[in-house]
C-alpha cells in the first residue's frame, strides 16, 4: 500500500494497521478456540485410548502377568508367535468369523426386507416402527439372559413352542453348533432393527419420480428393486454393513450372559478370549498381543467406515 495515494495519509495508515491487527487477533482467537474446545476431548482420548494402546503394544512384547507385576520379561514377538501357532486361537477366529457371517447376512437380509416394507406409508406406521426398534435399545446383557432364559432346554418357551408343533427339544446352549445359531438368533433379534432403521431411511430417500419412471419404463417390481432401489441405497446400506461387521466381530457382552463361552470354550469370540486370558488366567502379555491383533482388524474396518462416512457427510 502506498501512503501518498491514501487521501488521509496518516489516518489511513492507522486504520489499515488496526484492521491488520484485528485480523491477527481474530485469527489467533480462532486458534485459541480450536485449542480450547478440542483439548478436553483430546486429553481424555489420549489418556484413555492412546496411552492404553501404546502400553498394550509394549506389554505384547513381554512375558507379563498382572498378578506379578514386578517380573516383566521381554520376549520380542514370542507372544504373537505363540498365539498364531495356537490352533485354539484359530478356533476362536473361525468361530467369530462364523458368528459374524451368520449375523451380518441374516440382519442385512431381514433388515432390507422389512425396511423395504416399512418405507411405504400406511396407517400406524410410526407406532409399529417404534415397537420394532425396541430390541436394539436393550442392554446386551439383558438380551443374553433373556434368550438364555427362553432357550432353556427343559422349561424354555422356545422348546415348548417347538415341541407343540412336534419338533423334538433341542439342547440349544449345550451343543456347539446349536449355541452358535442361538447366539446368532439373539444378536439378529437385537440388531436387525438397526438395519431396518437405516434401510428404511435409505429407501425413503429415493425420490418417488424415480420409481414412477421405472414403472413407466416397464421394470417389474423385482427388476426395480435390484436395478434401482438397491444400487441407489447402497452407500447407506454399506455403512450399516460395516457397522454391524465391527460390532458383531467384537461381540462380548452377549456371550457372557448367553453361553458363558460354553459349552467348553466353543462359543468364545476373540473378544471373549482376550477377557478370559487377561482376567481369568492373567496372562497379561499374551492377552495384550491378542488385543493388538483384534485392534488391527477393527481399526482396518473402521478406516473403511470413516472414509465412507466422510464421503456421505460431504454429499448431504
Amino acid at each position: 500500500m502506498s501512503n501518498a495515494n491514501t487521501p488521509a495519509g496518516a489516518d489511513g495508515q492507522a486504520v489499515a494497521h488496526a484492521t491488520r491487527q484485528n485480523a491477527l487477533r481474530k485469527r489467533s482467537s480462532g486458534r485459541l478456540m480450536i485449542f480450547g474446545f478440542l483439548s478436553p476431548t483430546l486429553a481424555i482420548l489420549l489418556f484413555m485410548v492412546a496411552y492404553p494402546i501404546f502400553s498394550l503394544i509394549y506389554y505384547s512384547f513381554h512375558n507379563f502377568s498382572a498378578l506379578r507385576q514386578s517380573t516383566m520379561k521381554p520376549v520380542g514377538l514370542g507372544n504373537y508367535q505363540y498365539l498364531l501357532s495356537d490352533p485354539e486361537l484359530w478356533e476362536r477366529f473361525i468361530f467369530t468369523g462364523k458368528f459374524v457371517f451368520i449375523c451380518v447376512s441374516l440382519q442385512m437380509l431381514i433388515g432390507i426386507f422389512v425396511g423395504y416394507q416399512m418405507q411405504k406409508n400406511f396407517r400406524g406406521r410410526d407406532v409399529i416402527f417404534t415397537i420394532l426398534m425396541m430390541p436394539m435399545m436393550l442392554s446386551p446383557v439383558v438380551v443374553g439372559f433373556l434368550w438364555r432364559y427362553m432357550l432353556n432346554s427343559e422349561w424354555g418357551i422356545i422348546n415348548f413352542l417347538l415341541s407343540s408343533v412336534g419338533i423334538a427339544k433341542v439342547d440349544w446352549l449345550g451343543q456347539t453348533n446349536a449355541a452358535l445359531w442361538a447366539a446368532a438368533a439373539a444378536d439378529t433379534w437385537m440388531w436387525t432393527p438397526f438395519i431396518v432403521l437405516l434401510a428404511t431411511a435409505a429407501f425413503r430417500g429415493i425420490p418417488e419420480t424415480i420409481y414412477e419412471a421405472a414403472e413407466v419404463d416397464g421394470a417389474s417390481p423385482a427388476y426395480r428393486f435390484f436395478r434401482i432401489t438397491l444400487p441407489m441405497s447402497a452407500p447407506v446400506l454399506f455403512i450399516a454393513l460395516i457397522l454391524r461387521l465391527i460390532d458383531s466381530f467384537k461381540q462380548y457382552d452377549l456371550f457372557v450372559a448367553l453361553t458363558g463361552g460354553g459349552p467348553g470354550s466353543s462359543t468364545q469370540t476373540v473378544s471373549f478370549s482376550v477377557a478370559k486370558t487377561a482376567f481369568s488366567y492373567f496372562y497379561t502379555g499374551e492377552a495384550s498381543a491378542l488385543a493388538v491383533i483384534l485392534l488391527v482388524i477393527i481399526i482396518g474396518l473402521s478406516m473403511i467406515l470413516v472414509r465412507h462416512l466422510t464421503r456421505m457427510g460431504e454429499k448431504y
Binding site: 494402546i53 498394550l56 442392554s139 439383558v142 473402521s302
Partner: protein
C-alpha cells in the same frame, strides 16, 4: 380406488410378504412380551410346563430391584437397588460431561479447518469402534494402580471416554446443519466468535444436544463390559449386578427379568424423546440431518 388386477402370483406374493412380516413381528416383539410377563412370575410359575399366560403376579423381582423388603444376598455385597443408584449416577454424570466436551469439539470440527482434522475425526470415531476388552487389559492394571478400581469415579471416566467420540460426531452433524452465516453476521457486527457460539449457535442446536445426550445416556446406561471388569462390589452397575444374580437356587430369573424391564424403561423414554434424531445418532450425525 378401483380394483387393481391381481393375478394369482401377485396375490400369493402379497400373502407371502405379509406372512413373513408377521413371523418377523412375532420374533421381534415376542421376547419383549415374554420378558415383561416373566418379570411378574413367581419362581413356581417360571418353571411350570406348559408356560402360564395367566397367573397371580409376583412383585418380588421388582421389590428386590427397588430395595423394598428384600434381603441383601450377603453382608459384603451391595443390593440390587444400590447398583441401580450406581447406574443412574454413572450414566448421568458420564453423559453430561461427554456431551459437554463433545459439543465443544464438534463445533470446532464443523467450523474450522486445522492440521490433522481428518486424523482427529478418525481417532475420535475409532474410540466408538474399539473393542472394550482390548483397552480393558490395560485399564484393569491402571485402575488398580490409580485407586480407581471399583469406584464410581472410575466408571464415570470410562463413560466419558466411551461416549465423547459419538457426541463429537453427532454434534458436528448438528452444527453442520447451522448456516455459517450465523457467525459471520455476528462477527461483522462486532461480536466475538465466542459470543456467536454461546448466544446464537448453541440455542439453535438445543434439540441436537438433547438428542446427543439421549444417545450417550442409552449407551452409558446399557454398558456392561467396562463395568463388569472394573468393579468388584461397591461400584457395580445394574447390568453387572444382574449378570451375577445367581442365588443359592440357581439364577434369579424373576429378578433378572424385572431388572431388564427397569433397565429398558428410561431407554424407552429417551428413545421416544429423540425418535426424530434416531437416524443421526445411529450414523454418527452423517445421515438424517434435517
Amino acid at each position: 380406488m378401483t380394483h387393481a388386477r391381481t393375478s394369482t402370483i401377485d396375490l400369493a406374493g402379497r400373502w407371502l410378504v405379509l406372512g413373513l412380516l408377521l413371523v418377523y413381528t412375532i420374533y421381534n416383539v415376542g421376547p419383549i412380551f415374554w420378558l415383561l410377563l416373566s418379570s411378574f412370575k413367581s419362581r413356581m410359575d417360571l418353571f411350570t410346563m406348559p408356560p402360564k399366560l395367566f397367573f397371580t403376579p409376583d412383585l418380588s423381582g421388582y421389590q428386590s430391584v427397588f430395595g423394598v423388603g428384600a434381603a441383601k444376598d450377603s453382608a459384603s455385597a451391595i443390593g440390587v437397588f444400590d447398583s441401580l443408584v450406581n447406574s443412574v449416577i454413572v450414566s448421568v454424570a458420564g453423559t453430561s460431561l461427554a456431551v459437554f466436551f463433545g459439543t465443544l469439539a464438534g463445533y470446532v470440527c464443523s467450523r474450522f479447518n486445522f492440521i490433522g482434522k481428518g486424523d482427529f475425526m478418525f481417532f475420535v470415531l475409532s474410540t466408538r469402534m474399539l473393542p472394550p476388552v482390548a483397552v480393558l487389559v490395560f485399564y484393569h492394571l491402571m485402575f488398580a494402580r490409580l485407586g480407581l478400581a471399583d469406584t464410581r469415579f472410575g466408571l464415570i471416566l470410562v463413560s466419558i471416554f466411551a461416549n465423547v467420540g459419538l457426541a463429537t460426531w453427532i454434534m458436528k452433524g448438528f452444527f453442520d446443519g447451522v448456516p455459517k452465516e450465523v457467525e459471520q453476521i455476528a462477527i461483522v457486527n462486532g461480536y466475538t466468535r465466542m459470543y456467536a457460539f454461546t448466544r446464537l449457535v448453541l440455542p439453535m442446536v438445543k434439540g441436537g444436544i438433547a438428542a446427543t445426550a439421549g444417545f450417550c445416556f442409552i449407551f452409558a446406561w446399557n454398558e456392561f463390559a467396562f463395568a463388569s471388569i472394573l468393579t468388584t462390589t461397591q461400584a457395580k452397575t445394574l447390568p453387572v449386578k444382574i449378570s451375577a444374580a445367581s442365588g443359592a437356587t440357581g439364577i434369579e430369573w424373576t429378578q433378572i427379568c424385572a431388572a431388564g424391564v427397569v433397565l429398558i424403561i428410561p431407554v424407552l423414554i429417551f428413545f421416544y424423546l429423540i425418535r426424530k434424531h434416531l437416524l443421526m445418532g445411529m450414523t454418527f450425525g452423517v445421515l438424517g440431518r434435517s
